[in-house]
């Protein structure tokens, strides 16, 4: 949309997943939702124990099964086949969502259409006429975890900012997002709005402010460079 956009550093979705994985300490209980955030699992260090929750009723979720070893009763929230680690536990849906709602998860990672500077999240509906609404566990995850991380591109395909002053899409949760990991930078949600925690490559707070059209707090460190 602007001239400066072309100069911006963007990291890949895989790099972003790896970047998020860095911020998840050993021993954390983590829900990676469905879709892109599930990529984060591929970058969690193999020598550390991080326990994955899937809201359909399991802690200790393991990777995808080997070819021919699919168990149709063992799936994740995206309904893909998974495995169980030693130390896993199964439970029913009320217990699983009680776990979420009760604030027992350390981290959840969600996608977003928009995040507002006060931490409102919109990720379940574009409100488009005729679209079939579906919400699943998004609203429960948004309000449940101690840290709600959003993983998203900073800009939409048409160049608009997904970080906004106030969401225009229907909300998933109010004031719930704690941090936003984008392909351009990492932002914390603070009482003063978005704070740039880490700008990737040559990105600057000024550039990010221009791209988002928002006043940003500068708390930045230098982060991943493009292609790193």
């Amino acid at each position: 949309m602007t001239e400066t956009t072309a100069q911006a550093t963007r990291i890949t979705r895989e790099q972003l997943a790896a970047r998020i994985a860095q911020d998840i300490p050993e021993g954390s209980y983590v829900n990676l939702g469905i879709g892109a955030p599930t990529l984060v699992a591929d970058y969690l260090p193999l020598d550390q124990e991080i326990i994955l929750h899937t809201e359909n009723g399991m802690l200790g979720m393991g990777p995808s099964p080997e070819r021919g070893e699919i168990d149709p009763d063992l799936i994740n929230a995206g309904k893909q086949p998974v495995t169980a680690l030693a130390g896993a536990a199964y439970f029913h849906h009320a217990d699983s969502f009680g776990m979420m709602r009760g604030g027992h998860l350390d981290v959840c990672v969600l996608g977003a259409f928009q995040v507002s500077q006060r931490g409102d999240l919109a990720n379940w509906s574009t409100g488009a006429p005729g679209a079939i609404p579906a919400v699943g566990g998004a609203m429960d995850l948004a309000i449940g975890a101690k840290n709600v991380y959003v993983m998203t591109d900073l800009l939409t395909k048409t160049g608009g900012s997904k970080l906004v002053e106030a969401c225009t899409y229907p909300l998933t949760g109010v004031g719930c997002v704690t941090r936003v990991y984008t392909d351009h930078a990492v932002f914390d949600v603070t009482p003063d709005g978005f704070a740039v925690r880490e700008a990737f490559g040559d990105n600057t707070v000024e550039l990010l402010a221009e791209l988002t059209g928002l006043e940003l707090v500068d708390a930045s460190t230098r982060g991943i460079r493009e292609g790193e």
Binding site: S96, R101, L110, S125, V135, P170, V174
Partner: protein, 253 residues
């Protein structure tokens, strides 16, 4: 002697009337009582209200019930999936009513019905369209919406093993809604892979005590599982079949 077992799926679903409200267990295919649903289709009840997390996958089970136009209304959290083409068509044609409930509120409202709770304050959905019109209350600095129990005339549940008292154990994530739906419906009908003699289930491991179960039927190994793979919509490697989207992702990234 207490014997809740019945010989056939036809007997299991007998008596379900037109216009009944029916909870159907399962999250996607896992835990979906496909054989009971097939029997319900054959039985013929229509004008049904269905409570399920989803609105059918592929062409089997709940999707097949929908395709027969037996369902007036569905209450669920996530109807739109890569393989929900049956529901999608009916919804777009205005032939089915949808009530959308966030998944955790759906689960807790079903539990509340089983546990005799009159209503409860949930933080989920507050400030969103899905809490519009609900009573909002601030408690200890946080906002909550008042949610009411969801009951049903019947629950159709798929479990793994049962004894003749109706004690149930489940398999892996197929447990999902089974235990809470069994507690919330007036009549709970269960299909299991296997019936075992009374005393075979360790009392420590029973997930649904028989008090919540009215009828149990063994269906053997479920026919819609084949060689360790889903049948309908997903191939042997777990990849969606051609024509289905890459995943059930809820966002546009």
């Amino acid at each position: 002697m207490i014997d809740k077992t019945v010989a056939t799926v036809e007997e299991a679903v007998s008596g379900i009337r037109d216009g009944a409200t029916i909870m159907i267990g399962g999250f996607g295919r896992a835990g979906q009582p496909v054989e009971l649903i097939d029997a319900l289709i054959a039985q013929g009840a229509s004008g049904l209200t269905i409570i399920n997390n989803n609105a059918g996958n592929g062409d089997v089970g709940l999707a097949a019930l929908l395709a027969k136009k037996r369902v007036r209304k569905i209450l669920c959290s996530f109807p739109r999936q890569h393989d929900s083409w049956v529901f999608d068509g009916l919804y777009r044609a205005g032939e089915i009513e949808l009530e959308l409930v966030p998944q955790g509120n759906l689960a807790e409202r079903i539990r509340a019905a089983g546990a005799g709770i009159g209503a409860f304050f949930s933080p989920t959905g507050v400030g969103t369209q899905l809490a519009e019109g609900k009573e909002i209350r601030e408690i200890d600095g946080r906002s909550y919406a008042l949610e009411y129990p969801i009951t049903a005339d019947y629950a159709l549940v798929s479990a793994y093993r049962a004894d003749r008292w109706g004690n149930l154990v489940y398999r892996e994530t197929a447990r999902n809604f089974g235990p809470i739906m069994a507690s919330a419906a007036t009549t709970t009908i269960v299909q299991v892979d296997e019936l075992v003699p009374l005393g075979s289930l360790d009392p420590e491991t029973v997930v649904t005590p028989g008090i919540f179960v009215d009828r149990v039927v063994a269906v053997g190994e479920r026919g819609w599982l084949d060689a360790g793979a889903f049948v309908g919509g997903v191939d042997i490697e777990g990849r969606p079949l051609a024509g289905a989207a890459a995943s059930g992702t809820e966002v546009d990234q």
